[in-house]
Amino acid sequence: MKAFAYHQPKTVADAVRLLSQRGTMAIAGGQDILGAMKDGLFEPEHLVNLKSLPGLGDIKETSTGLQIGALVTLSDIAEHPVIRRDYTALAEAAEAVATLQIRNVGTIGGNLCQRPRCWYFRDPHVHCLKKGGDQCYAVRGDNRYHAIISPGPCYIVHPSDCAPALVALGAKVTIVGAKGTRTVALKEFFQMPDKNLKGENVLQPGEVVTQITVPRPKAGTRSTYLKVREKDSFDWALVSAAVVLQMQGEVCRAASVVLGGVAPVPYESPSAAKVLVGKPITVQAATAAGKAAVGQATPLEHNAYKVPLAEAVVKRAVLAAAGVR
């Protein structure tokens, strides 16, 4: 790891000022950036510790929903009784991340802002498109874990488990930068590579995510997060799905279906949701939602298996959210 200067700001304004300098990166739980620095992928001159900032480590319940500080750990989210009951998809997503040791340290802000796991991107000796090179090696290379839905020219999948759940729950993020504070719907926070090749989201240099706001679900809302991975101990999603259903009796009144592991962003499928709205949740409806969710997929050479897998994951998540066995 290259030597760096370490900063511990006491205010968000100080943090933002430090982060606006070139060669500066932020660290909170450090579960992504430390590995990337040890591998020589990132070599910041300055590292700004966000954990020294006060007031960003709490989960607050308000009349309109939840306010989750960016420094709240994934374990805290997974174990929070209200989140487990009313925002189930989020609790299940947080619990599906990595290992208990990582969840005890990793933060929700870091989970949303972590960099992709693409093995070409992660190899410091490979100068890929995302790092300013002239080709995406995944296109002709080993793309078994890559995107089946992407406008190109890069085919990463977004690695976050919590992001699909939070998008499905309609969350917003609060971003603080040199020019002030702004609030962005989480689904607008993430960007496809045709919009933003080098990053995965709208954060500008010097900006930090300080808070995630999740609106209180309407009565009758149920949600779940389902993740399929090759191994159950510490693995990334091959495909995951967050499903939020607002039920009125037997009938689904509103739905949100967001997939992980299939696209460079948490992939929301309005067409899958549309299949479900206005009907009772049945195996047939859930199956149709699964098909609709990845109807637009254009797999690469080695990842066509993700299409039937995504269909199955969405179907099961829909049935699980609705409580249909």
């Binding site: 790891m1 796991r117 078994r144 191994k231 693995d235 039937p308």
Partner: protein, 729 residues
């Protein structure tokens, strides 16, 4: 020197399913382990003597060695799969404060990513790392090939200048072509493959080297302290007697830690140049790139049996790859005797670091290929796969083990027709077998010492890979002297003790245990002679048990252990032992049964249960044998479902040179494992560290076939492959 008495004995041997009788010469010394029924310690479940030290962190591994003034070594490795080195300029690195030694004369051409180019020693790991970055290497990249499939193409870049494909000499017996043409046989043809798998030792390779004048002390994480000693001495041009190698505890080797290795010589050289001790432990990426792996292999096979299920013919053409090295051969056909055989094996060179022996080298690969073909053929014959094995496996131990295992797994619950399990998540059962030698050899020179204060120690320059060597060394002496295991101090892992061989091929126990037993017997004999004189009784009537020395039939003539030892005088007892062939046996047998669940919508395989049965002749420590079975099954499950080394043809680089995308199972992936130690009444000790890894993947693959009726022809069995086999992709 007096001529040692020898005798010739006849014994049957089985090599790759061929049984023959051979005559061998063994020393003729009366020695026997005795009746296991009468043993107080051996054969029981003995907790390992260093267990508490390991779990509390008191145990010092090579990684833990800290010496005053110690420097840290780091190796600069090639980022290219093939390149000529035009120049190396280390001047900036040498100027960096804290850098104490730089080596740049390692090679002029690199043939794989991770090959050693230069090395430094510095006051901290951080400074050493920074120094590596300051070494300017001008590479001239050359054409490369990193997949065996591409390397086999005529137009592929040449790894060594000549053909990439070598070998292929046919090995033949019987009349293969006629056998396949017979009208009463059923023939099956298919291609099966196993990818290359990394060792993933918990403790990486590496050592700490300290010079004292022209003498060198090296702490090494190794399977062979004496082989490291000899290789370091040779490479450094000093007498072997000037080198002392220490390995008190080590975190796994699995076949990859025999010699001094490149990093060993580099570490010793850096320490010499710097004039200070140097620690050089490899990082995980280096482990993946440059310390070996088990070769991958693809085999096109043709197998035939008569309609009533007698194996009759086998033909295979296999291609294996050990990167820039060879050693990719596998024993085919495996275990089950076939009268008519033709095999051809080819080594395919690639620009990847060399492979190394990996726990039962070649056998898990051969097992997956053979056992898959066996089940596919049984399916064609309409035969129960277990029946098919019972009919074709003459080994009496495995015959018994098959029956025991079938009962324990509930074989009757299998799908009579593969794939006919109901539901979305389908259950299936499978079976596969293991064979190994496990015999030992001469050479170990243990010393047993009894001091007049009653303390007992046994010293031997063997090493404990984590298999429990130290514990049985102590337990054998304790058994002989009627003491508790904890009353015997076992000192191992130091070339200052008597010679012992490297630990590989599951030879350690059958080599070490007989020698220790002989030393302990000699010590006992000396003690008994002394005590019987003192008690005025016949030596044959002396009993050593429960920490007492007693004359049989006369309870008043009894001494405590300490009282007895006090009779020894100042010099105590110090005796050596030598290996005795009568105490060791070879030819161990095992089999495993797997129960799996296959999710036909996600393609995910969950292993529910493994029943693993293994014999090793006379059991010294039942707990340790069970541990070896658990470890073997865990590695076998990893091979079945997760492990594969992946390389990128565009860059020549390994895609998963880590433990993130190189996938190993964790606790949530583990099944219920029933480890059954099969007590084979040979009365002789054999090794068994390797065989439990052999059949697991094959048994799992066969269970998946039984569940879904589709064969996954290549490992690992991933969701992608299952979905594809089910026609869903």
């Amino acid at each position: 020197m007096p001529q040692q008495k020898t005798k010739r004995i006849k014994t049957t041997v089985t090599v790759n399913g061929e049984t023959r009788e051979v005559e061998i010469e063994v020393p003729d010394i009366e020695a026997a382990w005795g009746d296991p029924q009468n043993m107080r310690r051996l054969g029981k479940r003995i907790p390992r003597v260093e267990g508490a030290d390991k779990v509390t962190g008191r145990a010092k591994y090579t990684y833990d060695i800290q010496l005053p003034g110690m420097l840290y070594g780091k190796i600069l490795r090639s980022p290219y799969p093939h390149a000529r080195i035009r120049s190396i300029d280390a001047s900036q690195a040498e100027k960096l404060p804290g850098v104490k030694a730089v080596i740049t004369d390692l090679t002029r051409e690199v043939k794989y990513v991770g090959e050693e180019v230069a090395a430094v020693a510095a006051v901290s790991e951080q400074v050493a790392r920074d120094a590596l970055k300051l070494i300017k290497v001008e590479y001239e990249p050359l054409p490369f090939v990193v997949t065996p499939e591409t390397a086999r193409e005529p137009s592929a870049p040449r790894v060594h200048g000549g053909q990439n494909v070598s070998g292929g000499n046919p090995r033949e017996r019987g009349d293969v072509d006629s056998a396949f043409r017979r009208s009463d046989v059923v023939v099956h043809e298919a291609t099966y493959s196993v990818p290359a798998r990394s060792h993933c030792c918990l403790e990486p390779h590496g050592l700490v080297c300290q010079w004292q004048g022209d003498k060198l002390i090296a702490w090494a994480s190794t399977q062979g302290i004496f082989s490291v000693r000899d290789e370091l001495a040779g490479a450094l041009g000093i007498p072997a007697s000037n080198v002392r190698v220490i390995c008190e505890h080590m975190g796994g080797g699995f076949g990859s830690k025999f010699g001094a290795r490149a990093e060993g010589v580099i570490c010793a050289r850096l320490a010499k140049v710097a004039g200070a001790p140097v620690k050089l432990m490899l990082e995980r990426e280096e482990e993946q790139l440059a310390t070996g792996y088990g070769p991958g292999v693809t085999a096109k096979v043709k197998i035939a049996a008569t309609r009533d299920g007698q194996l009759i013919a086998w033909e295979s053409e296999s291609y294996g790859s050990g990167g820039v090295g060879g050693g990719s051969g596998i024993p085919l056909p495996y275990i089950y005797p076939v009268p008519n055989v033709r095999t051809r094996h080819y080594d395919v060179a690639t620009n990847i670091g060399a492979s190394a022996a990996l726990r039962a080298p070649g056998h898990p690969q051969a097992s997956f290929i053979m056992e898959s073909a066996m089940d596919d053929l049984a399916h064609k014959l309409g035969m129960d796969p277990l029946e098919f094995r019972l009919k074709n496996d003459p080994n009496p131990v495995r015959q018994a083990e098959y029956r025991l295992g079938a009962e324990r797994i509930g074989w009757h619950r299998r799908n009579r027709v593969a794939g006919q399990a109901p539901g979305v998540v389908k259950r299936g059962l499978g079976v596969a077998s293991a064979v190994w030698g496990g015999g030992g050899g001469a050479g170990s020179r243990p010393t047993v010492r009894i001091d007049p204060d009653g303390s007992v120690e046994v010293r031997l320059g063997t090493q404990d890979l984590g298999t429990g060597t130290r514990t049985y060394v102590a337990a054998i002496v304790a058994e002989e002297l009627g003491l508790d295991v904890r009353q015997v101090k076992a000192l191992i892992g130091d070339t200052d003790y008597g010679y012992s061989g490297a630990s590989g091929g599951s030879t350690t126990t059958a080599s070490v245990a007989p020698a220790v037993k002989m030393a302990a017997m000699a010590a006992r004999e000396r003690l008994v002679a002394m005590v019987s004189q003192h008690l005025q009784v016949n030596p044959a009537d002396i009993v050593l048990a429960d920490g007492k020395v007693t004359a049989r039939g006369s309870s008043e003539k009894s001494l405590t252990w300490k009282q007895a030892c006090a009779l020894l005088g100042k010099e105590g007892i110090e005796v050596q032992g030598e290996w005795n062939a009568n105490l060791q046996g070879s030819g161990v047998a095992g089999c495993q049964f797997a129960e799996v669940e296959v999710d036909t919508e996600t393609g995910k395989v969950r292993v529910v249960k493994i029943v693993a049965i293994q014999d090793c002749g006379l059991v010294l420590n039942r707990l340790a044998v069970e541990s070896q079975i658990y470890g073997g099954v865990t590695q076998g499950l990893a091979m079945a479902l997760f492990e594969q080394r992946l390389f990128d043809e565009q860059t020549g680089r390994m895609l998963n040179a880590n433990l993130e995308e190189y996938k190993l199972p964790g606790s949530l992936d583990m099944p219920d494992i029933e480890a059954i130690v099969y007590d084979n009444p040979t009365g002789k000790v054999s090794g068994m560290g390797e065989p439990p890894v052999i059949p697991t993947a094959a048994a799992i693959g066969n269970a998946v076939f039984n569940a879904i009726g589709k064969r996954i022809h290549s490992l690992p069995i991933t969701p992608a492959k299952v979905l594809e086999a089910l026609g869903k992709v």
